[in-house]
């Protein structure tokens, strides 16, 4: 008879619950983004999710594993959702389809399924798409809120998503703020001129051009804080990501405000907040050690800043996350926490000399 080991009670936590909580936290920002970018965005979200779930089911079936329990743990849906949020809102259906399949099949199942993927599957898919389809992946349409005069209706939107709307997209699309700034700086312009007509409030509220998930900073922040409050994610990674990007931004902006974007622009534009709270915190590819998490987060933040400022792409969140994902095993190996009763190196604590001896002596005597 198999003996039953303690403990005999369990916290009300499960993988499924964790995934659903993250989806819940993403909901406000996603809903707002869908409102901003209208029907095509909604179609894209649905298509990406459908293909991701299909990819998950197919892979599990081919691997001969139970399909049901893994499919409904919500992890594939979350991956798809994060991927869709990182795509141009009016991207054609096949971008979402290829991305969803790639994220799950290549990014996750090939590595061995949930928990085994070294790289964030959504970011892996985004990078693959960006490299394969640079044109489609950089067509940023301005927000056209649902039911507004210029917004396409549900039927017109079908044309945009399923082909035939290319002319319309071309007509209205342009660069995102970060892309625009990069181009203008590259032309030798100064920031003051480059930022003409690009009020920071657009970035803050999510009414600027950009991917779905770059959307509203306050809503992303609410979602992130909810996750921290619920204990789903720790504060360390998000804070480190933000600090890692903003500190150099602040410093360089102070030194040369005409050539380096200020911290607020960096914070509200692009995918910094989304990455900080929802992507970098994906547990699988991030370190398990407390100090490792801070280093991991700071590394992502710094890389985002470096790529944005000096790299070839206007936004570098996906690259930054993938690069730090690859460093995770190393970080975890070297930054193991100190074990109770031992030094960091593993030797037992020595209370017979030095500061420790003095402290023990104080306690021994009961000194204040």
């Amino acid at each position: 008879m198999m003996p039953i080991a303690s403990p005999h009670t369990h916290a009300p936590a499960s993988v499924r619950r964790v995934m659903l909580e993250v989806l819940l936290a993403l909901l406000p920002a996603t809903a707002f983004a869908v409102y901003q970018f209208g029907w095509p965005a909604l179609y894209l979200l649905i298509i990406t999710s459908a293909f991701a779930l299909f990819g998950e089911a197919l892979s599990l079936r081919l691997a001969g594993r139970p399909v049901g329990s893994s499919l409904n743990d919500g992890s594939a849906l979350l991956t798809a959702w994060l991927l869709a949020l990182s795509l141009p809102p009016w991207a054609p259906w096949w971008i979402g389809a290829i991305g969803g399949l790639f994220a799950i099949v290549v990014g996750k199942q090939v590595f061995g399924g949930i928990g085994q993927n070294i790289f964030n599957p959504a970011m892996l898919a985004r990078v693959a798409l960006l490299i394969s389809f640079p044109l489609e992946m950089t067509l940023w349409t301005p927000p056209q809120p649902l039911f507004s005069a210029t917004a396409p209706g549900p039927i017109d939107a079908l044309a945009i998503t399923f082909g035939g709307g290319a002319a319309m997209i071309d007509a209205i699309s342009g660069a995102s703020l970060l892309g625009h700034v990069k181009t203008e700086l590259g032309r030798g312009l100064e920031l003051g001129a480059a930022l003409q007509g690009q009020p920071i409030t657009d970035s803050l509220y999510g009414t600027a051009r950009g991917s779905l998930g770059e959307g509203s900073a306050p809503l992303l922040l609410i979602g992130g804080i909810y996750l921290i409050a619920r204990g789903i994610i720790g504060w360390a990674i998000p804070l480190a990501v933000i600090a890692g990007a903003l500190l150099p931004a602040l410093l360089l902006n102070l030194i040369d405000p005409e050539h380096y974007l200020g911290p607020l622009h960096h914070l509200f534009s692009g995918a910094l907040l989304l990455s900080a709270f929802f992507i970098a915190t994906d547990p699988v590819g991030s370190p398990a050690t407390p100090r490792g998490r801070i280093l991991f987060g700071a590394g992502i933040g710094l890389l985002i800043y470096i790529i944005r400022t000096w790299g070839g792409f206007p936004e570098g969140a996906a690259f930054a996350v993938l690069l730090m994902n690859s460093a995770t095993p190393l970080i975890d190996h070297y930054l193991r926490p100190r074990i109770y009763g031992r030094e960091r190196g593993g030797e037992p604590l020595d209370y017979s000399q030095g500061r420790r001896a003095a402290r023990l002596e104080r306690i021994r005597r009961g000194d204040k």
Binding site: M1, P3, I4, A5, S6, P7, H8, T9, H10, A11, P12, A13, S14, V15, R17, V18, S69, D73, S75, G113, I114, G115, Q116, G234, P283, V284, S286, P287, A288, T289, P290, D332, R336, P337, R338, I339, Y340, G341, R342, P348, L349, D350, Y351, R359, L360, R362, I363, R364, R365, G366, D367, K368
Partner: protein
């Protein structure tokens, strides 16, 4: 605030806060009627089993010695009541394996006749070594669950200056309320026991740590402690595993017990409140440890209770006394839900370390889905009070790499269960570590045995070779002698 003003925060890193479920904390301690039979396992403590000193069929009196301590670390066992010894045979042990162990079976005669005891006039005037010796003779072991012979821990003061005696009234396990009730109902007795232990150890300071969820116990013990300077009650946060010795020392003094050492090595000894009570009973009244307070609780128990139970009583008697089950229990436990042992059935005796008997329903045990892949969420890392990386250790254990797990600190694991409790993937981390620890011991033993047999085989081979050589030498000698003889004969013939 005394000594604590220097420590900003009383606590330890990590840990968890399971649902407290102290449903029996307002139920007074009631004595359990003497059962028909008592089953006293010869091993109710850490160390070697006790050795019976009574004959089969003998009549014994209450408090009479039934089994003396075995060699090395051990503890004696006494008769909880008068009666007849009807058997000494293997009986199911209160142990997760469900295996039997040699057990003295006593049939009470209903007279509860005590044996003679010589009481010291004033136990507080006894020499420290005498107190420790008497505690050992009374068979007292750590009653918080670990069941480490208490006298040994009272003797640690010899050669090591002890500054602080910590009395563990934490009772951090959910459901259990036996220590809470004891402190509320018998604070003076507990205090006297504490002071006897303090005298035995020679500590100038006593800290009685009680979790914040037991305000009445704190008040009662504080009131009883007023006359004694140097005895101080500390309210500690309600956080599991506060009652673990290492965590308690860290929480109260900010000191960590160095790896491989004892609390005594840094001048601290921790004893449980129930142990203090048992010490008082032994020294003041000459009563050896033959009963203890047990919390009977859990969602499946009809009427939860705190019972004073003669040692050796079967768990089934306690459940019957508490009105049986009000619903089908999913799990039967001896001890708390975090570190207690699961019982296969209720025909298992209550022993010195049994602080609770729980019958939990399915909802209380939590979802019992099977293990899923680790998603590296590292809740286990946050929960581990030792600063270990349970996910990494478990991954190594699973692939058979015990040395790798040991390198990650398996040996430092206290099996508190915090990691398994929080794991959203339902990985039985603690079970993996239990297995790995046993496996390491097994490998060590097998290695020792294989080295031993190797040496034996070599010795035998050497002996065989020596014998063969001797035989050859003898044969050669005989041959030489024969030759010489023949030669001599030949020469004789020649000369003749």
């Amino acid at each position: 605030m005394g000594v604590f003003s220097v420590f900003k925060r009383i606590g330890f890193p990590g840990g968890v806060h399971p649902d407290e479920q102290k449903i029996s904390n307002n139920l007074p301690i009631r004595p359990l009627p003497m059962p028909r039979r008592l089953y006293l396992p010869l091993q109710q403590h850490i160390g070697s089993p006790a050795e019976p000193v009574i004959a089969l069929g003998a009549r014994v009196l209450r408090g009479q010695l039934l089994a003396r301590p075995g060699s090395g670390l051990s503890a004696p066992i006494h008769a909880p009541t008068s009666g007849r010894i009807i058997a000494i045979e293997p009986f199911t042990a209160p142990h997760p394996s469900g295996l039997p162990i040699d057990t003295i079976i006593l049939e009470p005669d209903g007279h509860d006749e005590p044996c003679d005891v010589v009481l010291p006039i004033d136990p507080m005037a006894l020499e420290p070594e005498v107190i420790a010796a008497k505690v050992g003779e009374a068979g007292i072991v750590g009653m918080g669950g670990a069941a480490f012979p208490a006298a040994v821990k009272l003797n640690l003061g010899a050669g090591r200056p002890i500054h602080t005696l910590i009395i563990n009234g934490g009772e951090c396990e959910p459901y259990l309320t036996c220590d809470d009730r004891l402190m509320r109902e018998r604070p003076e007795t507990v205090l006297e026991g504490i002071r006897l232990m303090q005298r035995a150890i020679g500590a100038w300071r006593v800290l009685i740590a009680i979790e914040a969820n037991k305000p009445q116990a704190i008040a009662a013990i504080e009131a009883a402690a007023i006359p004694f300077t140097g005895v101080q009650v500390v309210k500690v946060p309600t956080r599991y595993p506060m009652g673990s010795e290492k965590q308690m020392i860290q929480a109260l003094l900010g000191l960590e017990v160095p790896a491989g050492k004892l609390g005594a090595d840094i001048g601290v000894i921790v004893h449980n409140v129930a142990t203090a009570h048992a010490v008082q009973q032994a020294l003041r009244h000459g009563r050896p440890l033959t009963s203890r307070i047990v919390t009977v609780s859990g969602g499946a128990i009809a009427k939860p209770a705190n019972l004073e139970v003669p040692l050796g009583t079967l768990a089934s008697e306690l459940v019957a006394f508490c009105g049986g089950f009000k619903r089908e229990p999913t799990r039967l436990l001896l001890g708390g839900p975090m570190m207690g042992h699961a019982l296969h059935h209720l025909d298992v005796p209550i022993v010195k370390g049994s602080n609770g008997l729980l019958a939990l329903s399915a909802e209380e045990v939590g979802h019992e889905s099977s293990e899923r892949p680790c998603i590296r969420c590292s809740r286990c890392v946050e929960a581990c009070p030792l600063g270990l990386l349970p996910l990494e250790m478990a991954a190594r254990v699973r692939s058979g790499d015990m040395d790798g797990a040991a390198d990650y600190g398996l040996g430092d694991c206290i099996s508190c269960g915090s990691c398994s409790y929080t794991c959203p993937a339902d990985i039985p981390l603690t079970h993996y570590f239990n297995y790995a620890k046993g496996e390491l011991v097994r490998r060590r033993q097998e290695k020792a045995k294989s080295e031993e047999t190797r040496a034996l085989a070599q010795a035998r081979q050497a002996r065989m070779e020596r014998l063969a050589a001797e035989k050859k030498a003898k044969a050669a000698q005989r041959k030489a002698e024969r030759e010489a003889k023949r030669k001599a004969e030949r020469e004789g013939e020649k000369s003749a």
